[in-house]
Symmetry: C2
Subunit: 127 residues, 2 copies
Amino acid sequence: MTQTSPAPLAADFFPADCPVQTVPVLGSRKWAWKIIRCLEEGPRRFSELRVPLAGITAKVLVESLRSMEQDGVVARTEYAENPPRVEYALTPLGRTLLGPMDAVCAWSREHLDSLLAARLEYERDDR
Amino acid sequence: MTQTSPAPLAADFFPADCPVQTVPVLGSRKWAWKIIRCLEEGPRRFSELRVPLAGITAKVLVESLRSMEQDGVVARTEYAENPPRVEYALTPLGRTLLGPMDAVCAWSREHLDSLLAARLEYERDDR
DNA sequence: GGTGCCGGTTACTTCAACGGTACCGACCTC
DNA sequence: GAGGTCGGTACCGTTGAAGTAACCGGCACC
């Protein structure tokens, strides 16, 4: 019962369905956030997406788009024209991601310097 | 110049120092968010953290804490007592992460169902 | 009929995070 | 001196995202 210690943490501190548990889409997919940004203004074609996503390979872009499609944040529309045209767009669900994304981006804009500085200092001190 | 297409995306759409570029800490570290939540109310000891983070091994917890320490979001304090005591706490920088984290958690709470439903539907349709 | 574009696919490799097990050093108690 | 607690480290294996490179079918243009 010291005043410095908060209440102890229980083993079930995180419920089984805790949202932070499965933070989906966002984590693990390196390109997902950028892709969402690229689709923010409207549908884009496959090769159109490759321009701003400099360095991405077709394979990784396809994989990322497929998994985002699977998660329901991106919709794929195929047009039987020629040359073949395929458009990717944000779904309504995908659009709801823009809010949290902005929050994280704002954080990053604001604090990235501190973070990088901390890394440098850590190297100096403890290496 | 069709009305369906937004302006084209330039190759330098993402500036080199784009915050989304290096979304640090948050991405890639599976346990980071949970650890931050555990430290929200105050400093915690190493073994105290292992309770709510059910299933984490000492090794992974150490790795995660080290990398978060390196990023300046967590501070490690060693007390020369016995048995040895080590406390981990959020730094002021670490605390600024709680805002964006809440935004993402709120999104997850609100839309996780839709996302999981989308996954099921994707399996049904395209498999 | 050869070339190129579009939107991919396939196979192979690399790499970092995660996971499992074992063990360690200091200090304590029995 | 045997065993326990605390906060780790060392070694090794697995997994999944990402990168590299080659190729493909359909159509248009020359």
